[in-house]
């Protein structure tokens, strides 16, 4: 199994979720994160003083799935999250050795 972690623009969340469910992914976990990268935050003026918002709000989407789905999933995410503008984000894939569904005790493939 693999964990796919995608850092995306917040307003693309719904699209990404839909594209994942189209390829059969049933569950995902989402976290609000702050991103620092090539895309720069903006400078505001508050009462005449500079106010640098140097982080950008991003969403981290995490989904664990069978190895066989990884390619399709990264593609689906890539497509759904793409705007072509800087800051679109990244997808990382890393290994998962075990999975358990707490409710039933099912493991691995069955747990996803």
């Amino acid at each position: 199994m693999k964990l796919i972690t995608a850092i995306i623009k917040p307003f693309k969340l719904d699209d990404v979720r839909e594209s994942l469910s189209e390829i059969g992914v049933q569950g995902v976990t989402v976290t609000e994160v702050k991103g620092f990268g090539r895309q720069k935050g903006h400078t505001e003026l508050y009462r005449g003083a500079e106010y640098v918002v140097d982080f950008l709000p991003k969403m981290k989407v995490e989904v664990v799935l069978e190895d066989g789905l990884v390619e399709r999933a990264t593609e689906a995410i890539s497509k759904a999250a793409n705007t072509g503008k800087i800051g679109d984000g990244k997808i990382f894939v890393s290994p998962v050795e075990q999975a358990v569904r707490i409710r039933t005790g099912e493991t691995d493939k069955d747990a996803l």
Binding site: E44, L45, Y46, R47, G48, A49, E50, Y51
Partner: protein, 411 residues
């Protein structure tokens, strides 16, 4: 005929009490304005300060402030007295010796001193020790404020010198600002406010609706502040005067808002809400020295100049590294001075010399005496919280609770 006199006495007293209640409400205004303009982690502390300072002012002014201010004396030195005298008898009222209840006068006065003290709390926010602040409040409301109040309104030398300050641009607002300035200088800026290379960094306030609510509360309360300062309403001319004051107070504030908004738009490219709010307050402060005489259009202009001034003053103070989180020194001090000078546009009794004398006398007295008190506090209890407490927020450090425990997560 006596019924009529008694009735007039009743109406003037009632008018005074309602005016005072409106000014009391300004305490809530300052509390909301200040808590909206500080960071979440210092919110409960500033609220505590505001509730406590109002209470301390109420008690200290009762104990001795009122008698110092209105107990007589001459020149620079007021008499020293305590508490409030007996109220008027029916006989003295009927004889024409009194227009309103002494108690109502006290009430109207006590809420003024609380206003002056409220101004201080905003400027020293986010870093001053709570208890040192409250001790300062004891001295300020029981002594520093009443002494200069005596100079003008108690019949002291400024009154004799023809200094004009109808409702207190100087006696109340600049006084608060001067005491705040002394405190801020001794206290230093908030950590992180000025960068290593002298650049000014923004520390955004946490709750704009509160700041806006506070401004509206102040605006409403100011009708009592200025309107009540006519002191009497029970004849055509006084009634007209009070009505004119209401109109001028309102339109000066409006002028301040519009001018500050346009100034901010021009300078920063954005409609900075906080500047608009400060502009409204500036308009109110500006008209306070003379809310009666100007025609409404002139009042609008006086307020508008206040609104422009406050923006420049805030930016300038920041450049001087005088860190005032809520803009109180600018809105009440800089603009208070403008208001006192603007009196000469409409009030023939005022002279530029008299006004400057008042400005300088009051400023020096309050600034120096406050500086001494803050210094003593600094040398003894300390006036600034530890760096760690400042980082973690004064709420947990001083009050043991958070203002918004469920909304913010990392301090």
């Amino acid at each position: 005929m006596n019924e009529v006199i008694e009735l007039a006495y009743a109406l003037d007293t009632f008018y005074f009490l309602i005016s005072g209640a409106l000014v009391m409400w300004m305490a809530a205004g300052f509390a909301m304005l200040e808590s909206g303009l500080v960071r979440a982690k210092n919110t409960a502390e500033i609220l505590t300060k505001n509730v406590a300072l109002y209470s301390i002012a109420s008690i200290m002014y009762l104990l001795c402030g009122y008698q110092i201010m209105y107990g007589g004396g001459s020149g620079f030195i007021p008499n020293f007295g305590m508490l409030i005298g007996a109220d008027n008898t029916v006989a003295s009222v009927v004889d024409g010796d009194a227009y309103y209840s002494v108690m109502s006068d006290f009430f109207f006065q006590v809420v003024f001193v609380a206003t002056a003290m409220s101004i201080v709390s905003g400027a020293v926010a986010e870093r001053m020790k709570l208890w040192s602040f409250l001790i300062f409040a004891v001295v300020m409301t029981g002594f520093i404020y009443p002494v200069q109040g005596f100079w003008k309104w108690g019949g002291g030398f400024l009154d004799a010198a023809g200094f004009q300050d109808f409702a207190g641009s100087g006696v109340v607002h600049m006084t608060g600002a001067a005491a705040a300035l002394a405190g801020v200088i001794l206290l230093g800026a908030r950590k992180g406010k000025y960068g290593a290379n002298g650049e000014v960094k923004a520390i955004p306030g946490s709750n704009m609706p509160l700041a806006t609510l506070g401004t509206f509360i102040l605006w409403l309360g100011w009708f009592g502040f200025n309107g009540g300062s006519q002191l009497v309403i029970t004849n055509v001319l006084d009634a007209n005067a009070v009505a004119a004051i209401f109109v001028n107070t309102n339109t000066a504030a409006a002028g301040g808002v519009v001018a500050a908004l346009l100034t901010a738009r021009a300078m920063f490219g954005k409609a900075d809400l906080t500047m608009a709010l400060n502009g409204g307050i500036a308009g109110l402060v500006a008209i306070t020295a003379e809310p009666l005489m100007p025609a409404p259009l002139l009042a609008t202009f006086i307020g508008a100049v206040g609104g422009v001034l406050v923006v420049f003053s805030i930016v300038t103070l920041d450049k001087l590294k005088i860190d005032d989180p809520v803009g109180a020194i600018s809105a009440h001090g800089t603009v208070g001075i403008w208001g006192l000078i603007a009196v000469i546009f409409s009030n023939d009794a005022a002279s530029i010399g008299g006004q400057l004398l008042g400005i300088i006398s009051i400023f020096l007295w309050v600034f120096i005496s406050a500086f001494i008190v803050w210094s003593i506090l600094k040398a003894t209890l300390g006036i600034r919280v530890s760096e760690e407490e400042e980082y973690e927020g004064l709420d947990v450090g001083e009050c043991g609770l958070e203002a918004y425990p469920e909304f913010t997560r990392t301090q």
